[in-house]
Amino acid sequence: MLNVQKIREDFPILKRQVNGKPLVYFDNAATSQTPQVVIDAIVDYYSNYNANIHRGVHSLSQEATDAYEKARKKIQRHFNAKHAHEIILTSGTTHSINIVATGFTTLLSEGDEIIVSALEHHSNIVPWQMLCERTGAVLKVIPMNQEGELLMERYDQLLSEKTKLVFVNHISNALGTINPIEYIINKAHEVGAAVLIDGAQSCPHIKPDVQALDADFYVASAHKLCGPTGVGLLYGKEAWLNKLPPYQGGGEMIDQVTFEKTTYAGLPHKFEAGTPNICGVIAFGTALDYMNTIGFDAIASYEKELLDYGTQQLLQIDGLKIYGTSVNKTSVISFNIEGIHPYDIGSIVDKLGVAVRTGHHCAQPIMDFYKIPGTVRASFSFYNTKEEIDILVNSVKKAATMLR
């Protein structure tokens, strides 16, 4: 059992007011809030040991390098990667995806196939379309049903020896569906394809084990896990990372440089050109410690409780429809009220202190599937409460009355 009231004390922002009302923060799928320990880690870094890493012999640089590499090890342990050098530190999920998509340019030829899912975020569609344009590879899409679940029998049909890559998110950001990634990975491996799992939405709820999953690549962002923005990771199996060429040229990623030839550094530095977000990576490590102390099992079961309560309460509202109704879903409720534009609802509930996302959630193909302009999305985190859900429900009711 979580002591939610005590947990809320860890988050200074939850005490603030918005438009004269207490903040109800239900946009956790966009970014999570930051606990004091993570804020302290950021302040501590800039107050006490801010220095560039892997370069200086001076003490400050050593301390910063140690803290940075210690954070990489924490991330390795959290995701259960075999080696620390299989964790590439990036600016976030989008950056991580682009390293792989760009790297595969040299590994694909015309007629090869790439499979993505109908539930993808734009950041997991556009880089692959660009890769297809560069290589002549063909993009195939796993379709979904009305409940927002991927059709696995259709996936089976798409797979062939032409398939070189499969990219799916573990959890859909727009609908909250949890995809059967174990099945997807196993089936892809049967035809020799590599699999990239986008864990941006799942990491706040589920602790992944990349070795047990046998994922070839796994990407995620710190800011969805109570960490700072501008930090993320690319996990890749050592053999795959060695196959991919460097993404950017610059300092840190080299072994020897002459004007005739440069040899590249080994993993992970090959993919970490330039000065990284040192403070952000260290604070990401602190955020993982924080979340692991609370415990992902406890988080998941409490968030399920919030999801069930929120679903039940919202469905009491006349004309309200929920998009994404799989039994396998996380604490995300995407909804509309018949005849009312999601922006109108979002604008009004914001004035009542409730932060929800409105729009297409960077997943226009999903909105096109349902033939809607967008949805209102409320996403719950372990620091939210049922009382806050009541405020959401009352605010939506008020908005509906005004807008009808």
Partner: protein, 140 residues
Amino acid sequence: MSIQEIQEEIVDEFSMFDDWMQRYEYMIELGKSLPLIEDKYKTDDNIIKGCQSKVWVHAEMKNDQIAFTADSDAIITKGIIAILIRAFSNQHPQDIIDADTKFIDEIGLKEHLSPTRANGLVSMIKQLKLYAVAYQTQLN
């Protein structure tokens, strides 16, 4: 009435309300009085870019004055475009080009719009002024 006078009238009307809720309700009311665009003009070309909900605007010149019609799929947005059209419609193109839009700040519209919607507001004003520039060119 001149654009300036209409804008002052709108500012007066909004000053009667104490809280944002009443202002929103009034905006929704104003949306209902919007001169609606004919369906045949509801084309992708007439959608204003930069708004997250759909806003269509059409302009016609009658007796050296521009008459605007519009519609939106979101009610609050419809209210916003209605306010703008009330200020700018049935005016000479040059007057529309010269008009300032300080009244938007004075009625507190901007602060009550999310940034994306505030950007949409700028796009809407820009589009109305673009029509005025186009028609003014014809007159010259």
